[in-house]
């Protein structure tokens, strides 16, 4: 079969474009197609969420094990309610686990640190739809400075 030079170069051009998209998606954006889609939902209430945003990571010892799905205010007690979607591939955590809002580095983004609790016989694992009771709020710098000044003035 006679190969048309124009068609050949257009085909190569289109292929090059698709390869560029794949490299951008896999290498640059590191997106994981289909992976991590198997999730379950947990809820948690905080006094103060600081600069936490939707899609912020949930980490156990630095490993990303889930993401913040959405944040809204519970109008009954005016507390921020955070919905977490946790990756099922990392399994489940005991009911005694606690959450705290931490900051990556001095000026970095805020994320949720999950500290798995102790496991006893009568303690069950958190499952889809459960609420984590033990939470620690974000550290707000202004409040910290306020406390420091207060304790200094007392002395």
């Amino acid at each position: 079969m006679k190969v048309n030079k124009v068609e050949l170069s257009v085909g190569a051009f289109v292929l090059l474009g698709i390869v560029a998209l794949l490299v951008l998606a896999l290498k640059i954006a590191d997106s994981q197609f289909g992976n991590n889609t198997d999730t379950y939902t947990l809820y948690a209430k905080f006094d103060n969420i600081g600069g936490l945003k939707a899609r912020s990571p949930v980490k156990v010892g630095g490993v990303v094990v889930g993401r913040v799905e959405k944040i809204n205010l519970d109008i009954e007690d005016y507390m921020p309610k955070v919905t977490l979607s946790m990756y099922r591939q990392y399994g489940y955590y005991p009911e005694t686990s606690s959450l705290s809002i931490l900051t990556a580095g001095l000026l970095g983004e805020q994320y949720i640190g999950l500290t798995p609790g102790f496991v006893l016989e009568d303690i069950e694992n958190l499952n889809d739809g459960d609420v984590i009771e033990d939470t620690k709020s974000a550290i707000v710098l202004e409040e910290l400075i306020g406390q420091f000044l207060f304790s200094v003035s007392e002395e």
């Binding site: 124009v6 257009v10 474009g17 560029a20 951008l24 954006a29 590191d30």
Partner: protein, 258 residues
């Protein structure tokens, strides 16, 4: 005074009717079933506007990525944050510079050629002789060029982005000594497929429609004279570039504004 108001009205009417003619042209050219002839012509036009634009797109992408890395490094190194060079280069390219610069280069490289080609076809009465032979010039001449532009420009943008990031890597890692692993891993962690690459591609598609549409309409609407073609070509590049920059602001406000 009355003369001034009349001139204003005449200009406004001319603008509105030009927009109307342009929309009719787009509608007539696109509202057709794909035929073997259309596919064949489109492939040929992708070669002309896409493959032949590759050298300028790739070389510009490389240099823009390299200069971004060079400038960004000297700012970031003051804060000890030079490992953030990767996300800085990649995000500026994917979100803004890739789609916009590709569209501007495309308007200059391919859009002007399209305008001149169609304008000359009109001036030498090739278009009207096609009509005499019951061949619709909108479907035969304009449609394949429209489709070719729509296909080629997003692909060119992807290649521009990739080469630009590679250029940033060359300057940042190979020359200035940013850590290789940190460069890629921080880039990968901070770029999201839908938010950054997806929105960039949406921009590129919008710009493709704008540039090709403006170029073809100016050619199709050109005064049939040598001066008319030169004016149409200038207008094509100027209008397309201004529209791309204005649309870029609107799209950025919609996508990343809130």
């Amino acid at each position: 005074m009355i003369e001034f108001i009349a001139t204003l009205g005449r200009n406004a009417l001319a603008r509105v009717s030009a927009i109307g003619r342009a929309s009719l042209m787009l509608w007539h050219a696109l509202a057709t079933w794909p035929s073997a002839q259309l596919v064949k012509d489109t492939v040929k036009q992708v070669y002309v506007v896409g493959v032949q634009s590759l050298p300028i797109i790739l070389v510009s992408g490389l240099f823009i990525g390299m200069v971004l890395a060079l400038q960004g490094y000297h700012i970031l190194v003051d804060f000890g944050a030079e490992t953030s060079l990767g996300p800085m280069v990649a995000l500026s390219l994917l979100r803004e510079l890739g789609p916009v610069v590709t569209a501007l280069l495309f308007a200059g490289r391919a859009g002007s050629a399209l305008t001149a080609e169609i304008g000359l076809m009109k001036t030498t009465e090739q278009l009207s002789s096609m009509e005499m032979m019951a061949v619709d010039p909108l479907k035969r001449v304009v449609a394949p060029r429209l489709w070719a532009g729509f296909i080629a420009m997003p692909l060119l943008t992807l290649m521009f982005n990739l080469v630009g990031i590679w250029g940033g890597f060359l300057v940042g890692v190979e020359w200035l000594g940013v850590d290789n692993g940190a460069f890629w891993s921080i880039t990968a962690a901070s770029i999201e497929f839908g938010q950054d690459i997806g929105n960039g591609m949406i921009k590129s598609a919008v710009f493709a429609i704008t540039v090709v549409w403006v170029a073809l309409f100016n050619g199709y609407d050109a005064l049939p004279s040598a001066q008319g073609i030169s004016q149409a070509t200038t207008r094509s590049v100027v209008h397309a570039s201004l529209l791309v920059l204005a649309l870029d602001f609107v799209l950025t406000a919609l996508m990343f504004g809130s």
